[in-house]
Every structure is written in structure tokens, then in C-alpha cells.
Symmetry: C2
Subunit: 642 residues, 2 copies
């Protein structure tokens, strides 16, 4: 055998050809070509999500149970478990692709983009952006007024802003250029002021009045998606939004897998680079589309979970997964954006929102800020459902929080026909009389799978219609062809292969149902544990804010029916969308909001559920539809006629 042979892998659709070393996997080739193939397990061969169709070429397959005989005949292989041994033709089927068209970018679409509209809570803050531009007409010097250039400038800034002189600083580029800029502009200049906590930095001094050219970007750095909003900081308007998948997905679907990958491959820097590239891609796209000079982007505020914040800043995240689960830093003061690799104005600043601990990050501080839970009179609950379910309970006097390991089943992982909330995903399911199934599909196309909100709806309707009992098991004696037995147990047919884009049946298996029940139980027990820890009950909750990827599409009643949410009035429950990016925007628009986020993070008490016996007991009881103790769900008892 020759060493180091290279072969060409041609991917369709998209027509990308990747040259790769013999013996590498098709997944490796797709990563090299920056193609997003679903690989929830990170390439372990365990999730079975990375199925591709091999049209031609020599490969070596590792054994797998994820590809059926029928599929094998059609050419399906697992990309992660198939080695390239010759030139290949590969087709990436719809269900294995990651599609960014359905990333939750928005906040409240019903409001136009003004400061007050960022969030109802934003009104409480004065518009006072983290980086501001100020036009100054300085008094020209004379023999009777021979104050130095820099002090003259600082004096004028102080008079106009009230910033105390002793907290004003600057950088060397400003100092070096100052005499020339001041004289060439006849003492009329625009200063860019960057908030740095205990000090305010004069980031730049430009000739003339350019105070209206001041932009910032708020970013929600999620484990799965990265969402950016471009803001005009002088008018407090949202100009545009853009989103992409987090390119780290290639190295693991959840952040623990990515820490392991980075640790084992000595790839901490690479992990930072790919994430920064995503942020730069978003900023670059927004800037080009809106014909803004990148030099006028002066600030970026990022909200992310603790691990994403670590990767973004290049901080070591490894102790987050080792007992006693410590971040390197919960809060990092603002830094020069270009130091982290973020491409904006050379002197622009990068802000990250403060984390509470290893498992409750800046995205949650940001969410609490967005709904102003920290100033609420009413006892409020914020639930942010993503890969984990972070929960905050409290009001203006106290806040407790936890992170429930809901697992990625709501993102489609671990579910046989599960997929992300992308085009072709079933997002609503109705089971009518005679077990007639009606589905609503994202993008109104033939379905290719089912996403989180669809799964919840499906589960609720299965129990309502009596197809499953309250343990989640399929009931015997149900007269429908949809319920059928396979080698792996029973399954319920949602859409026949004749109507799907994949030409495969979309089903929900017994195993899928148990997975979903475990996930909803984790969230319910998290809520319940926080309530009990404060000696409170469900009836004490006055407001619920539902945030996160599937918030906007979720049927609340279904969520209560299956016992994911406690049995409270639907009117108390509000969707807040991507509360992480909302809080980031509020911070960008107002330094008071940014400081409020710091206070929020320091005020929240974190409960570790993994070491909590009460949580474990509650979790076991919640592994039922809706709960072993039906008295906790009176409205569901009525609904299900229990």
C-alpha cells in the first residue's frame, strides 16, 4: 500500500469537492469542506444522525446498527463510520443537513426596532450605549489658556458627559495622533468613548462631526447557533439580524463533547478560532448588507453559556467538566475586540455578559435582564430550553437558578426521526378522531422529520388520544394501523414514506417516548426543586417566561399536559424568544443594563441538581405523564379524565 494517498470526495448538493487522505472518514471530509452534516454525537457512531448516500466509490465501513438493510441497499452509510478508500460521490440527504433558515434570531417581532422595543424591560434604562460617540467643539488654545491637548480634550468630555476626569483613560494611538487631528480639524472632533467599568477609554478621536456613525453588534453565542443583531448606537435602532450555526458543531453537539475534543486534540485555540470566525462572518455579512464601514462598529456584546464564553475568549474551559466544576472566570472585563480576533474598529471593545457558574452562563444573566426578573414584584420563572434547560426563579428580592440536564431530545437528538427546527420539520401535530394525524411542517414542504415542539405536541396528543398510557407505554388494543410492531418494539406512524421528502416513514418509537419523558421530567423537577428550596409551590408562580430555540413554536397546553411545565394558567406564560440576544442588545444600548447584568449574575444563587437528593426523587416521580402524583396537575386530570 502506498502511504499518504489522497482521494477526492465530491459532495452533492452544493458541488463541493474535498481532497482527503486515504482512511479518513466521510465526516472528516465534510468537516474539511465546511459542510454541515448533523453529527450530534461528534462522530462517535452512536447517534446515527450523519447518514449520507454513497453514490459511487470504494469505502471501508465500520459495523453499525443505525443503518437498516433497506437503507444499506439504497446506499446509506454513516459518514462518521465510513472510511474513504477511493474517489467518492456522496449525497447529503435533507435530514442530515444543518439548515440555518430556522434559527431563532428575533426577539419580539411585533415591536419595531427602538430601544423601548428591545424588550418591555429596556424602557427602565436610559439610552447610554457602552460605546458612544460625542461631537466636541473645543476652545482653541491661547497664551492665556495653554492646557495640553489631551487634558483639553478630557476637560471637554467631562463637561459634556459628567465622566470624572480621573476615570478617563485613552490608548496610545489617540495620544500620538491627537495634536495633528485637533489642529487639522480646527479643534472640532468626534470622540469615541468606551465604557470599561471603573474607567472610560477614549477609543478614537476623529476630525469633524461623525457622531452619527456609531454601530454595535449584539451576539447570542449559542452551543448550536450564533445570532447577531446590528444596532445603530446613536439612534438605538436595530438595523438587521443574521444567524449561523456554531461551526464548533463539527467537534461535538454539546459543549461537554467539545471540551473533550479540544482537550484531547490540544485544540483550544482552534476552538476559539472557529467560533470567532462565525462571529466575524456574521458581522461581515451585516456590515456588507447594510453598507456600513466596519471601522464604525465600535462594540460587540456577547451573551453565551459559560463554555461558549470561555471558548470565545480563549479561556481554558476544562475544569467546567471536572469536579467541583469551575469556570476559569465568571466575568471578564471588556477587552479590545481584536485581541480575541473579532474584526471591528481596531480599538473597539468586546464585552461578554457575566456567568453565574459552570452551568448557568451569560445567556441566562442576559435573559433575566431581558425580562427584568431582577426587578419584578411578582414571583417569576424564566425557563430557557436549549440543549440544557436553565431555570431561574425569583423576583426583585432574590433569585435561584439551576440547570436541568434535559438532554438534546428537544433538538431532535436521540429521537429516531428527530431533527432541529429547520425547514421540513414537523412543528405541530394533531391527532384527531380515528387517529387521523395532521402535521404542520416548517416551510410547508414534505416533512423530513420532527422537531422539539412537534415532539411535545405529539406526545401530548398520544396520551390525550389514549394511544399511550401515563407511563408512556403504547396501550394494547388500540385499533389503528399507525401503531405497529417492529423488531425494536412498538412505534407510531406519523407520516407515511410516500408523503415524506426522505421517502422514509416518520415515526415515534417507544424508545423516543421514554427519551422525551426523561427530558420533560428533568425540566419539571428543576422547577419543582427550586420552588421547594424556597418553600414555595406552583400556585405561588405569578409569571413564566419561556425562552430559547423552540419557545416561539411550542404549544403551552401540550407542555402542561405532558408535565414539562407545572399546571398553571396558560395566561401567566409568556414567550420571550431569544432572551439571550435581547439582554445583549439592552446592554449594548445602556451601560446601566450592562451593570445590571453583573448585579444579576452576582445575586443569583445556583443550585446544583446533580448532587441534590430532592431533585432525584422529584425526577423519578416526574417520569410519568404528567406526574405520578396527578393531584399536582388538576387541569390535566380533568383533561385526561383520570
Amino acid at each position: 500500500m502506498m502511504k499518504n494517498s489522497h482521494y477526492k470526495v465530491h459532495f452533492r448538493p452544493g458541488d463541493a469537492t474535498v481532497e482527503i487522505e486515504k482512511g479518513k472518514t466521510i465526516l472528516d471530509a465534510s468537516r474539511k469542506g465546511d459542510l454541515f452534516i448533523n453529527a450530534l454525537c461528534g462522530g462517535d457512531g452512536t447517534c446515527g444522525k450523519c447518514k449520507v448516500i454513497l453514490s459511487s466509490g470504494a469505502v471501508e465501513r465500520m459495523p453499525t446498527t443505525h443503518v437498516s438493510e433497506t437503507e444499506t441497499k439504497r446506499g446509506y452509510v454513516l459518514a462518521c463510520s465510513t472510511k474513504v478508500m477511493g474517489d467518492l460521490e456522496v449525497l447529503i440527504p435533507e435530514e442530515s443537513k444543518l439548515d440555518k433558515s430556522q434559527i431563532l434570531m428575533g426577539d419580539y417581532p411585533q415591536f419595531p426596532g427602538s430601544l423601548a422595543a428591545v424588550s418591555p424591560g429596556a424602557e427602565q434604562f436610559k439610552q447610554n450605549p457602552l460605546v458612544s460617540k460625542l461631537y466636541l467643539e473645543l476652545t482653541p488654545p491661547s497664551l492665556d489658556d495653554s492646557m495640553a491637548d489631551y487634558e483639553r480634550l478630557c476637560q471637554a468630555v467631562m463637561v459634556k458627559t459628567g465622566v470624572p476626569l480621573e476615570t478617563l483613560t485613552t490608548n496610545f494611538t489617540v495620544l500620538k495622533r491627537l495634536p495633528t487631528v485637533l489642529r487639522e480639524s480646527k479643534w472640532c472632533v468626534t470622540v469615541t468613548l468606551g465604557y470599561r467599568g471603573s474607567s472610560v477609554e477614549i477609543l478614537e478621536v476623529q476630525p469633524g462631526d461623525v457622531s452619527s456613525s456609531n454601530y454595535g453588534v449584539a451576539v447570542d453565542v449559542g452551543t448550536t447557533t450564533v445570532v447577531a443583531h446590528l444596532l445603530n448606537l446613536s439612534t438605538a435602532e436595530t438595523i438587521d439580524t443574521e444567524a449561523t450555526y456554531n461551526s464548533q458543531i463539527k467537534y461535538g453537539d454539546d459543549y461537554i463533547q467539545r471540551i473533550i475534543y479540544a482537550d484531547q486534540h490540544d485544540a483550544m485555540e482552534m476552538m476559539q478560532e472557529v467560533l470567532i470566525e462565525d462571529v466575524n462572518y456574521l458581522i461581515g455579512t451585516l456590515v456588507k448588507r447594510n453598507r456600513i464601514n466596519i471601522h464604525d462598529i465600535n462594540a460587540v456584546v456577547c451573551a453565551g453559556n459559560t463554555v461558549m464564553t470561555h471558548f470565545l475568549l480563549g479561556l481554558d474551559p476544562r475544569n467546567i467538566r471536572r469536579e467541583p466544576y469551575l469556570p476559569t472566570a465568571s466575568f471578564v472585563p471588556p477587552l479590545r475586540a481584536h485581541v480575541a480576533g473579532v474584526e471591528i474598529n481596531r480599538y473597539g471593545l468586546l464585552y461578554t455578559l457575566p456567568c453565574v457558574g459552570a452551568y448557568v452562563g451569560g445567556d441566562i444573566s442576559s435573559g433575566v435582564l431581558a425580562v427584568r426578573l431582577d426587578t419584578a414584584e411578582a414571583l417569576s420563572l424564566l425557563i430557557d430550553i436549549g440543549t440544557n434547560g436553565e431555570i431561574v426563579l425569583g423576583n426583585k428580592d432574590w433569585m435561584v437558578c439551576c440547570s436541568a440536564s434535559a438532554g438534546p431530545s428537544f433538538e431532535g437528538s436521540g429521537i429516531s426521526c428527530g431533527m432541529r427546527a429547520a425547514k421540513g420539520a414537523i412543528e405541530k401535530v394533531n391527532i384527531a378522531q380515528h387517529f387521523d394525524v395532521a402535521c404542520k411542517v416548517i416551510g410547508d414542504v414534505p416533512p423530513s422529520g420532527i422537531c422539539g415542539s412537534g415532539l411535545l405536541d405529539c406526545l401530548a396528543n398520544l396520551v390525550r388520544s389514549g394511544v399511550i398510557d401515563r407511563t408512556g407505554n403504547f396501550q394494547k388494543g388500540i385499533e389503528t394501523k399507525r401503531l405497529r410492531k417492529t423488531d425494536n418494539g412498538y412505534e407510531f406512524l406519523l407520516v407515511d414514506k410516500s408523503e415524506t421528502s426522505t421517502k422514509k416513514d416518520i415515526v415515534l418509537t417507544q424508545a423516543d417516548i421514554q427519551n422525551l419523558i426523561r427530558s420533560k421530567a428533568a425540566i419539571y423537577s428543576g422547577i419543582s426543586t427550586l420552588l421547594e428550596s424556597m418553600n414555595m409551590g406552583v400556585t405561588d408562580i405569578e409569571q413564566v417566561y419561556l425562552a430559547g430555540g423552540f419557545g416561539n413554536y411550542l404549544d403551552i397546553r401540550s407542555a402542561i399536559t405532558i408535565g414539562m411545565l407545572p399546571d398553571i394558567s396558560v395566561s401567566k406564560i409568556n414567550f420571550v424568544g431569544n432572551s439571550s440576544v435581547i439582554g445583549a442588545k439592552m446592554s449594548l444600548f445602556s451601560k446601566d443594563a450592562y451593570e445590571a447584568a453583573r448585579t444579576i449574575a452576582s445575586k443569583m444563587t445556583y443550585f446544583d441538581l446533580m448532587c441534590n437528593n430532592r431533585y432525584m426523587e422529584e425526577y423519578v416521580s416526574a417520569n410519568f405523564l404528567p406526574h405520578t402524583d396527578i393531584e399536582k396537575f388538576p387541569s390535566v386530570a380533568d383533561e385526561l379524565l383520570v
Copy 2:
């Protein structure tokens, strides 16, 4: 003629050979070879100080009146006005060399090096260095105490130092290494804390207890000399001192010439580089000699006049010499030393002391701090005599200051046999009966010229002995061969050529005397103008502090006799030596002292003498020995029997 021919110039003593383009001057060649030739005028051909002896080789001479026929016969040429047209042999005579053996390095030699000994005023400050090292034994984390690494560290710093958490910052290297350093050191670390005004930066975190390895360097950055003191910041001891000539001397003797040079040659960066090289040379020498790791030098404090501070930091000084005479910045906050090119710990800080304005710099703020004029009950006067004479008058309630253009005659420039206070310089002169002259020479060698203190002494003794009258003119009818007529008027012979190292007579000419009178008149009128501006008189002065290059060698009585200092009791006058470096040391040892220097600079009111009519009148009256109004000098009236 061939273009771009190069020739070799061989300099003695020192045996340096420099290759240089045809047509460049011998001074250019000496600069290229880093040889210090006295060129007070910066190479204009006007000062006549750069005489060298041409042993062999082809040159092209430009006309000059500074080289006599006799000198020409002996081979003397002006280095600045002689072009290299072939390979040359050049001898640099003693009097044209710059010798650093006599730079005033010390502060109070009578005190050993402890904090209290830095200056009597230093006792008022708590030892609290600008950069400190702190050994911390952190509580290891546990499941019940899962504070992040950085916050854990900050908490411990706050508990031990009282620094509020919100003012603590750090750099990325600390954050990146923190998890590893903390765990490898079993949570026992030494943190280096750098004071940054409104914040305190954790500069470094090292494993174990290395808190005793913390050093700093205080530097007086003078126009002519650069003086450095190495300090142990953990014990507040002065370890060693070193000095060198400011390498910018090559480009002009006074700072105005250097600004012009830098402006015309687009050489701002080069001017910074040569100055930083001097500072690095001093630090490097101190570190090597005392076997200290340069990594343990964590702070450098520089005190310099406004122009030197600008050059040091790479700031544009050009507006200092253009009306209305503005610095780019009077005060620059601490910065990373390596950003300016200063080679110490990679994260060490560079502090510069604050300037009052274009002509009263950080060296004077430092001097005021050193003598604690700013807290004095008594009305005090600080006079720092260098190229200019800066004067501060005041007490704890108010301070006024000015800069008198004394000119460089006290440094030997513009005086026919003048030289700096170096080996071979006459520093004391006595004229006894029969006009016998006794001289004290620095280094007890045959004299080669006369320095500032010698010139003052000489002038006082000439008027005491009646050789000159109170206008400074030689008296007719004086019977001594020492007074003789030349083509350029009368001169007084101090040392015969048979006794000098240069084999030339050392004389004081009529022109020299008028130069010296103008210089002393400038200082006196400065003092007088400040007093009058406050409606005060000489008798109100309770304390005088004399600082600067020739302070330690000056005969105070002579200075009063000629009317440089006002007629007050000699007992009120104190020598304080290099008060600039003393203040820098105090600042390094105590951040309270550093802050006091900032307050001092902001409290001082600057009087511009150039636009001051009263000063001009006073200056004209003071162009007399001691003054046209002898009643202002009663003790001198007695002495001279006027």
C-alpha cells in the same frame, strides 16, 4: 566622481572605526559610531565645542571662526563642519568628550537607602509600592464552594488588600494560565498587583511564594543625563544606581534643538528609540550587576521635563515650541512598559510623572514632591538649575512656578572654556591677593575647562577682587598679567596652558562674563517675578531648595554675590541634589506619593515669563552684579563695600 563612495574614519582614543558615505561630516561619523562628542548646538557650527584633531586624511572644511590659526596648525577642525573626503584618523580631545563620571546620580548620600531615607518628606507616605507582590493561600474549591478561579483569586486579593472587587482587572495571559497555575501550585500563589489609577491590574500570577522578588527602577530622564535607581520594592531599599548621557545629545544639546531635528528629519520614532535604549541600558546594567532576573522588574517610574516625557512615550512634542506652547499631554496614565519599548517584565508598568505645562515638567512635580513643598507650612522656594532654571514658590496652600531661560551657560555652553561638570572641570575658583588663582578640579587632574559651579565662583571672585566692575566689565588699571587684551577684547587667565590637559589656556572672556550675567539674571528675575506676583518679597522666603546638576558643588555665597540667588541667609538654603529622581523613587515606593505628584502638578500655577513685562523689566535690572538696585542685596553691599 563616483557616487556613494564610502570611507573609513578611525577614532582615538577608543579605537572605533566607522564606515561612512563621502561628504558626511566627522560628527555624523561619530554619531554613527555612538561616540559622544560635545556638540551643544546640535551640529550647526555655532558652538565650537566639537573640536577634534585630524591626524590624517582628506577633508573638506567649511569656514569657521571657532578654530584659531594656531589650532588649525595643530590639526584642530570642527567635527560638525568638516566633510569626510577620504579615510581619516581622528583624535577626540578630552575637552570635546562627554564623560559620565560626574553625572549627579545620588539623592542624599548621607542617608542609607531605606524608604524614610529617600527624602525627609518620604516619611509622610505609607510604604505601598505602585507594583506590589502578594502571597496568597487560596481556599481550594469544593462542591459547596464553586466560585470560578478568577473570582476566587480576586476575592482573596480583596480580603488581603482591601482593593474593591470592581476596581480589580487583569490581562489575558493571567486568565489563560490561571487554571493551570492555581492547580499546579495547590492554590498557593503570588500575585503581582499594578496600580493603574482608577483600577488595579493583576499583572501576573506565579506559583508559590515569590513575593520577595519585586523590583522597580526610578529614572530621572534629563535632557543631558539619564539617571536610574534600582529599588527593592518589598523592602523599600535602594540597591544600586547608574547613569549615562542622554543619547539624544547627538541631535541637539537642548530639547528645542532636538524637536527641530526630529521634525526636520522625520525622526520622532528614532528619538524615542535612542532614549528608550538609554533607559534599557541602565536597567540592563543594574540588573546584571546585581544578579536580578529582569522578569522581576515590575515597574519603572520616569520623571523628566515635558519634552523628554514626550520623546520617551513617543508623543508629538512639536507644539511645545509653537505658540501657544502646548504639550500633547501633561499626564499620561500608566502603560505597559514594553509598549514603549522598555524591557522589563512583559506585563510590567511604566509610569511617568505629571507635567505642569510645556516648560515645567514631571521632573519639577517630582522635585516638589521630594521636598514636600506642597505640604510645607513655611513659604518655600525650589530652584532646579539645568539647561533651564525651573522655579517653584509656595507652600501647602498654593504654588506658582516658572521656567527661566537661563541658557546652557551653567553647563558650559556659550562659554569659551566652559564644559560640563566632568573630570577635568574646574569646580571651585579662589582669587586671592595679588590675583593669585587657586582652582579645584574634578578628579584632581590637570584641568581641561571650567564647569557651572566654577564659573559662578570665578565671577563672584572677579567682582570681589575688583577685576570686574558691577556691570561685568573688566576694570582698567588692574595690575596683573592675567588680564590681557586679545583681538576679541579682554580676557582673564585662570590656568596657563602649561598646566592644562589641553595645552591651551583656560580663560574667562568679556563675552563669557556677559553670558553668565544673563543666565544668573534670568534665574533671579524668575524668582523675583513669582514673589511679586504673590505680593511678596525676599524676606518672606523661609526655605530654599536648590536642586539640579550643579547644586551639590555650588558655593551659595558666590551665587548670592553675583545676584543669582536673592540675598537671604545661607542657613535657609538646602541642597537637595537630584530631586527629580528622589520624587520618582518616592512614587515607586508609595502610590500615595504618586497620586500626590498628580495633585501637585494640577495645583501649580504656571507663569509664562516670556510674555511677562514685569519679568522683562526685572531681567534688565538684574543684568548687573548683583543688581542695579544694590539695596536688594544688603549683605553684598557690605561685602563689596558699595
